[in-house]
Assembly symmetry: C2
Homo-oligomer: 185 residues x 2
Amino acid sequence: MDGPVTLRRPQRADARRNYDALLAAARDAFAEKGADASLEDIAKRAGVGIGTLYRNFPARQDLFEAVYVEEINQLAAAAEAAASLPPWEALRVWLQRFVAYAVTKRAIIDLLNRDSEMFRSCRVVMYAAGEPLFARAQQAGEVRADASFDDVLRLVSGLTSAAFVDDAQRDRVLEFALDGIRATG
Amino acid sequence: MDGPVTLRRPQRADARRNYDALLAAARDAFAEKGADASLEDIAKRAGVGIGTLYRNFPARQDLFEAVYVEEINQLAAAAEAAASLPPWEALRVWLQRFVAYAVTKRAIIDLLNRDSEMFRSCRVVMYAAGEPLFARAQQAGEVRADASFDDVLRLVSGLTSAAFVDDAQRDRVLEFALDGIRATG
DNA sequence: TGCTAACCGGAGGCATACCTCCGCTAATCT
DNA sequence: AGATTAGCGGAGGTATGCCTCCGGTTAGCA
């Protein structure tokens, strides 16, 4: 489960339990209520006191970031798994994963916009994961030359904030977007 | 300025002034801070007391809706203006307008998702404005047959929530999206 | 100009969330 | 088992936003 970016977990058994429970509860809460979910609610979900939350994550930002380190690591893993596919397929699969993933954890979009120390480094990790797939597909002539990886990410990430009628529509619309960045002719 | 959907404005001169100031302030505030901007802040921006806000808009929802009636009417007007262009161009221009518009007033996206009496009717107006442009372009063979207007709107509306580096990137990415829904061959 | 109904606006009560502080608990070590 | 000390958790102070209520003001009319 360890990835390119890691966090320091507490030492004692009970503390570690609480830390993990908080992280899981926070992930759920952020997914459900967005980035400004109530911290008191998160503590309750995790079954710990509010004090414990603050000891582990002194600022709201710290908790938010800790959650995204996990998410990011998983996206990086997905990129590695896709690397063995043909260029276009690899990019396509990764972007699908990106969208499907971010739909449930929608706050991940903020990652592209917000600004902070760790956000920046998370972004670096994500780009390091996806950009090679993009570059390979572009060099293979499968992706139009006038698009950048950043363009693609923003085009696709928009899809995560729309509430689709069903998964079929989401997939269909994503295919449209993919067609849009595909090399013509 | 009157459009398909209208609101009742107060009678007395001072009341009307305040009403308009509130609407303008709310539009700014929603654009800036999102749909849950502080009502007290909006009243302050408008230079009126909080009581005046509540007299005009008893519930937060009322104010929010009032703002969007204006936005929607403008989008409808834009559709009318675009109707004289060739099929594809008309759709393209209208969607550009939609994106450029919604970028500054980002909360308009909620319109596609949220549910309420007036939201529904606003959505009806918006669809009534844009759908004919879409249908015409599709019948002219310019838009792929397997896309619906709803698909397109969701694809494009996603672009409004991403923070682009600059307007040029936004336009470029929108072009990618448009290419994606264009008929191939 | 004077009357009066319509309108104004902010004080204040209520709810919610943030965050700190510290007495109690229990994990770990010897 | 007992000592040590990291860790727990919630009471409570602070801040902020929601919304109501009503004494004072003023636009519109005659």
